[in-house]
Symmetry: C3
Subunit: 133 residues, 3 copies
């Protein structure tokens, strides 16, 4: 399970880095806390950070349960695709929010694979343990 | 633990579905990214999605630790109540934000039970391991 | 691992309490759902709650993986520092958003220690298991 742990930590560090970019944009474009609007480019970084949080709450349980109920090595490699997809999403969104969909898909697809795989694996484990019991 | 894994994945899939409803409302009511305001109905879907994230960050550790320190089968059943409560919350909030409290309570109560149960179970395990040591 | 579970639950309960403060501020300053702006003090509470969510998504995996791959007792004590730092952050932010940095640092530093420790611990475990295999 150690490779999965490493990938989870990298994904979380990526999110921390995105948060740092929000702070830099807040300073650069003069958006004072608690405001979260006021400059278009700041809002793009802010939304990428927020959207990444929205994916992490799905990604972390999905990769963990896929690793337990399906395969930890596959989990780690699929998880890395998510991390790379997020970087493309950030670059596309900041350049032009209308073109964010490719990066979004590339980070959403690995999550969907992990999620569906984990669901099938856990459901099978549940059925098998009922048959034994 | 497999039933708990299945319930966690269902709760997370529900959240993904709520996110899809936000995207549909964004398109339908013409709210362009990165804006998150501009149409009342879009904002309701947006807030339900955000509020569900706020409950998931509590629900996932709570159900996991309740399953470990109290009882995995009870954890799964109580977790299902949360999932159902969220659907009622969505329907009530979109119809009229002022009437959202019943659905909110129905999804907040199971979390509170899981959280308090997990706290008592983990605290007991901590005290007992100190006594042995 | 029971002390780590207790600290995770305390951190999550703290977040629930912050959410209750947001609800109280919403009522007190007349900010009706789904609006999240409209009164400066409400917005401060709202941002503290949101920012705490942004730290929890990092804190929970970090403390869990640090406990597994480094040391569960250290994990619990470092986690308590995070919980205390969040209270100082809340008080400073509500009093004056410009002075929020000290409390933020005090809650961000423990997370960083947990994260870097977990990364080193998990990476070492990964390398060692490759050597054996």
């Amino acid at each position: 399970m150690a490779p999965v742990a490493v990938v989870i930590i990298i994904a979380v560090l990526e999110y921390v880095a995105f948060g740092w970019l929000v702070g830099r944009a807040r300073h650069r474009y003069g958006v004072k806390a608690p405001a979260t609007t006021g400059h278009e480019v700041f809002e793009r970084y802010f939304r990428v950070h927020q959207n990444t949080l929205e994916t992490l709450i799905v990604f972390i349980p999905a990769i963990s349960l896929f690793a337990i109920y399906v395969n930890p090595n596959w989990a780690a490699w699929i998880g890395l695709l998510y991390v790379v997809g997020r970087i493309l999403y950030l670059r596309a969104y900041v350049a032009d929010p209308a073109k964010r969909s490719a990066g979004f898909t590339l980070s959403a697809l690995p999550i969907l694979v992990l999620l569906v795989g984990a669901l099938l694996g856990a459901a099978r484990a549940m059925i098998e343990s009922n048959r034994v019991g």
